[in-house]
Structure formats: C-alpha cells, structure tokens
C-alpha cells in the first residue's frame, strides 16, 4: 500500500472515478493543465482529456449552475471551487436550486453532483482564502456536507460522494493537504457518508472534531494521554447527515465532551453538536460541554492567524476544564 498525502489520495479518487464511470467529469477554474490551485487534479486532463477535465471561465455561480444542469441529464459532475471564500457567488445556486430540485420535482429530477472546496486557514494566505463557513452549508436542507481529515477517508469519502445520488459538498482542509500521510489501498474503496470515525477509544473525555482541526485534536489527545487522561477521539467526517448515535454513545460513556471547530463561534457547527448531546446525553454529563472554536471575527491575515485557529493548547485546556468540573 502506498503512503500518500490527502492531496494524492484525492487525486487517486478522481482518477479512479474518471476511469471507471464515463459520466464523471471535472469542471472548475484552472483544473486542467495547471491541475488546480492545489494540484488536486494534477495530470487528470492529460490522462482523461479536455472534454472530461474542463477548465471553466472565472464564474463560480456558472460552474455550479452548469454542473447542476449536467447532473440532471445523468452526468456526475465534480466541480471545484478554488477556496471556500470564493464559493459565496455559487451559494445561490446551491441554496436555491441544487439542494431543492429533488424536493421541488418530487424525485423526478435529481442533482448528483459534488462540489469540492478547499477550506480553512493556517497557510498564511490572502484575505478570503482561509474561511471555515461550513455551518452555512450544513444549515442548507438538501445538501450533504463531508469533511475529510486524513488520506484514507479523503479517498473513500470522495468516491462515496461521487457515487451518491444527492448533491455533496466536499470540504478539503487546505493546511492538511500535504501535512498528513498514511498508507491507503491503491484499489477503489468507499468510506460511507454519514458515519463518524472513532479514531481512538478512551474513557475520560470525548474530543470531537473534523477536517483541519483533527491534527490539533490528535495532538491534544497525545498530550492528555501523557498526563494519564484517556481521550476518545471522534472525527465527524460528515456534518450532514450527522452521526448523532456515535456521538451520544461516546459521551454517554465518558460524560465529558469538547467540540472543536475552526469556523466562527456563533451558530457554528459545534453548537449543533452541543445541542444534540444535551438532547440525548444530558444526564450522562459530568461537566458542561466545551466548545473550542474560531472567533466571531474576520479570519486574521497571516501574522494574526495564530490568535484565531484553535490549537492543541486550547483543546487541552478545555478538556482539563471538563475533568476539573
């Protein structure tokens, strides 16, 4: 099994989908000869042709709107938006059309498309390049929202997203693209959408995260272990539909929970996780649930980023508070 990065795992998934399903096509800005701004589609146009890996004009609403039409005819388009902060012009297509067509046509027309979007900060990029606005997407009925944090899941979840009969927003953590490596099968496989992953079992506190934040969650769990605290680590992997059963089961066991998200704090996705836990696990709680989040500020530019992005220090501190309660 090859050891690969998330970027390579995504490229493998796209390559396999193009090779095995003639209805799959990739469209987006600079996805062809350039291989995309993060090189996720590197080499794919060369291997599969310009009809199937299509460079588009610079128009995000157009990309998603065209993908919507393509999907209705039976194609399986995989659209790439360069950064989540550039996806806002496409939100009208997602909210007003992509997410609704199955409902407004009573299953007669469907839009099985994938929109891949790099998200999150940590690479010192320009303004608008570090957004974590996944909560807006998760709040939109009719979209599935998937966030991978490691190469194995990235490949299997992207394959599952392309095979899914409904629209899937596939968020890719920018700063983890090449920072996380692991061995993965070079044969096709699926990681099911809607199932959280228990990365590490533990009995003292449940740490919940997703996407880019998982690297800091893992670091925090290591540090807690050094202090004799056994943290259970859950990678949500899918925000919608949320695997509430796995969360409730874990927190019922540990009695303590820390939810980590890079997005802004107010009405962020962690708030939804907290709400679900208090509905179904309140009487197992031994301490208030902690949220470690980005702030309700503009994501700071390169020199101020460290004040915004949740890090292992903050996660450990939050976990300790739950243990001291």
């Amino acid at each position: 099994m090859p050891e690969v990065t998330i970027a390579q795992a995504l490229n493998m998934a796209l390559d396999e989908a193009l090779a095995t399903d003639p209805t799959v096509l990739i469209l987006g800005e600079d996805v062809g000869a350039t291989g995309g701004v993060f090189r996720i589609t590197d080499g794919l146009q060369h291997r599969h042709g310009a009809e199937r890996v299509v460079d588009t004009p610079v128009a995000e609403s157009g990309i998603v709107g065209a993908a919507f039409g393509l999907a209705i005819t039976g194609m399986r388009p995989v659209a790439e938006i360069q950064f989540l902060g550039f996806a806002y012009p496409a939100y009208d297509q997602l909210v007003s059309h992509v997410s609704r067509i199955r409902n407004r046509s009573r299953h007669r027309f469907t839009a099985p498309l994938v929109v891949r979007i790099p998200y999150g900060g940590g690479i010192g990029a320009a303004e608008h390049h570090s957004e974590s606005s996944e909560a807006i997407l998760a709040h939109t009925p009719g979209l599935k929202v998937v966030v991978a944090s490691r190469p194995y899941d990235a490949k299997g979840l992207l394959a599952a997203a392309i095979a899914d009969p409904d629209p899937v927003i596939f968020l890719e953590p920018i700063r983890s693209y090449r920072a996380v490596k692991e061995e993965i099968p070079d044969q096709p496989y699926l990681v099911p959408i809607g199932e959280a992953g228990i990365e590490r079992e533990g009995s003292d506190v449940t740490l919940v995260g997703y996407g880019a934040a998982m690297r800091d969650v893992r670091r925090a769990a290591d540090r807690l272990a050094e202090g004799g605290v056994a943290a259970e680590v859950i990678d949500l992997r899918t925000l919608v539909p949320l695997d509430a059963a796995t969360l409730v089961s874990s927190v019922t066991k540990t009695g303590r929970a820390v939810i980590v998200q890079e997005g802004h704090r107010t009405a962020g996705f962690a708030a939804e996780v907290v709400a679900r836990l208090q509905e179904d696990a309140l009487y197992s709680l031994l301490a208030p649930i902690e949220r470690v989040t980005g702030w309700d500020t503009v994501v700071p530019l390169r020199r101020g980023e460290q004040h915004y992005i949740p890090d292992a220090d903050r996660i450990v501190a939050a976990a300790r508070r739950t243990l001291e309660a």
């Binding site: 588009t56 157009g62 709107g65 005819t73 046509s105 007669r108 009719g142 809607g194």
Partner: protein, 350 residues
C-alpha cells in the same frame, strides 16, 4: 435609425413574408394560444377567490411562448419561469401540475416521465445557466437534445445572465435563450433596466447571434426560434432571442400597475393582441369562424376546469410529503425530526 423587430404577421392580420408554418399548424398553435389565455384568466379568477396562491399572469405573451416552444421536439429541455405556463404546457407539462403548483403544493413540480421540463424557476435569473448544463450534458452523452430557457427583461440585469450567456458561448452548447421583454420588471420599465438599445444586442458581447423579434407575432417567433433550435441541434451553438412583447396585466395578482404605469400604454398594447392577430390572418384565409372559436374555447376550457377540479381534489400533503423528497433515502436526522414533530403534536393535543 432604431432597430426594428422582425415581423411577419402585422397586427391587422396581413403577412409581409411567407409564414413558416401552414394553415393546419397555425390553427393548432392558435388553439394553444387560446388555451393559454383561458388558463391565465382562470388562474387570475381562482386567485381572487382565494383558491390559488399569488399568480403571475402572462396575458399578451402567448405568441412569444407558443411560437418558441412549438419548435421543440418532445424530448428537448425547457427551463422556464413562473410566467411561462403556456410554453411549459405546450412542451408537455400538464395544466394539473401548473395549477397544483399554484395552489401551493410541491407535487405540481413533478413533470411526467419523458417531459423534460424543470419546475418553474421562482428566483429571477439563476435558472438560465441550467439550460447550459443540460445541453452540455446531452451532448456529452451523444444526444442532440436542445435546451430552451425563458426569462424576462429584468433577468438580464442579473449577473447570472452574463454567466449563462458566456458559458453557453464558450462551450458552444445547444442552448436557446428566449428573453420575453415585456416592458416591465414589476414596476421598473425596460428603459431603466438597461440603456442598451435592445437586449438582443447584448449577444454580440458573448460572440453569439442575437435576434430581435416582434414577440406578439406568432410567425416571427416561430421562424426565429426554429432557426435557432436548428442551429443548436447542428452543434453550432447558442442564440439569444429577444421577443418584444408586453405584460398587459400586473406583475402578479398582488401587484397594482396603476401605481407606476399609464393605463393608456397597456391599452395600446392590448390592441396589438397576439391572439387577435392570428385570428384575423386565419379569417382572411378562410380558416376561422365564430363556431370554431366557440368550440375550441369550450374544449380547452373544459380541460382546464377538469385540471382545477383534480388539483383541488388531491389529498392534503402529509408529513412524509414534507420529509421524503429531500434525499434519495431519508437520513437519520430527518427520521429524528419526524419523531420530534409527532411527539410534540401528540403532546400538544393531549
């Protein structure tokens, strides 16, 4: 000199060029325009009785819609708006679905199998790009289906108009853009929507043909739409057609045009009625009489009445109708929300 819209059939029923269709087809399309007019009147009346939600009448635009839609094949795509019922109906979208939709019921959006008409777009402008993706997807799968999209003059101010026109031209998709320039976008007149002399001229900027047509002329609409659809089907790319017409009625039944426009203007356009124009032509050709008019109005009216009765007889939607069409398979979080709804309803009644 200002550009003049292409016209074949003058308001007095005389022709200035050979019509693109024969008498039988003209009679069929005249009858379709009559059906559209009857539907429009029926819906306006039903709304006043509180039996429909807000309704957007299209009186005066029948030739633009029927003339354009008539050139499509049954399997072609149509992406239209809330004011395009006549075009959608001619392409196979039943009156029942249209009426059901206006009663406030999603079941109206389910086109019959084989009818490739999307539910009417309610947001202005975002749907045009869908006709680009549809035509593109058909071509990629080796089919020569065309996608026709309808929109108004107001929609051309949306950024999505630009993106759709540009994508269609860049990829050379078999998309036909039908802009019904009906003079008014709610209260904003055409000349304040854009200062361009015509909307058709905008096509130049995208490198596609732009046609400027008398939208109240069935023959001109048919001829120009047929040429555009043929071009598209041959793989020669998209066309923008501006149909110059007029919204004789209000924007919707909730609108009062008296607040912003002169009734004399509307009256002048009513005199250029697209149905009357074809009727005069047919009469001159000996292909119209009052008895036939009475017969087609009765027959088409009966079909619309039957659709109204059927729509009103359909059982009210249940909880499953709300939850079961979001995804192919209902996910666990929606199961949970149904439980919450049923639990609280039961408790509230106890």
């Amino acid at each position: 000199m200002p550009r003049e819209p292409l016209q074949i059939l003058a308001p007095d029923g005389t022709i200035t060029a050979e019509p693109p269709i024969g008498i039988d087809e003209t009679r069929r399309l005249y009858r379709a325009m009559v059906a559209g007019r009857l539907y429009d009147r029926k819906c306006t009346a039903l709304q006043k009785q509180g039996r429909l939600a807000t309704y957007a009448p299209f009186q005066g635009q029948e030739a633009a819609q029927i003339g354009a839609a008539a050139v499509l094949r049954p399997e072609d795509w149509m992406v239209a708006t809330y004011r395009d019922a006549a075009a959608m109906w001619l392409q196979g979208y039943p009156w029942l679905n249209l009426i059901l939709g206006r009663t406030g019921d999603e079941r109206g959006g389910q086109a019959p199998d084989g009818v490739n008409v999307l539910p009417p777009s309610i947001t202005v402008g975002a749907h045009m790009i869908h006709a680009v993706g549809l035509a593109w997807g058909e071509r990629l799968q080796g089919r020569d289906r065309v996608a026709m999209t309808f929109f108004g003059d107001g929609a051309t101010s949306e950024g999505d108009f630009h993106e759709a026109m540009n994508f269609a031209a860049v990829y050379g998709t078999a998309t036909v853009f039908i802009c019904q320039n009906n003079g008014w976008a709610i209260s904003l007149p055409r000349e304040r929507q854009t200062v361009a002399e015509t909307i058709a001229d905008k096509a130049v900027g995208y490198g596609m043909p732009g046609e400027y047509v008398d939208g109240n002329d069935l023959f001109a609409m048919y001829a120009v739409a047929a040429a555009a659809v043929d071009r598209a089907r041959r793989g020669e790319g998209p066309t923008l057609i501006e149909a110059l017409t007029y919204r004789v009625g209000p924007h919707t039944t909730a609108d009062d045009p008296g607040r912003y426009r002169n009734q004399a203007e509307a009256d002048a356009w009513a005199a250029r009625d697209p149905l009357e124009r074809v009727r005069r032509y047919l009469e001159k050709e000996g292909a119209w009489d009052a008895a036939w008019q009475e017969a087609i109005e009765a027959d088409e009216g009966d079909l619309i009445e039957a659709a109204v009765a059927e729509a009103e007889a359909i059982a009210e939607p249940g909880v499953a109708d709300v939850f079961d069409f979001m995804f192919a398979d209902r996910p666990s979080h929606l199961d949970h929300q149904i439980e919450l709804l049923q639990r609280d309803r039961g408790a509230g009644r106890a």
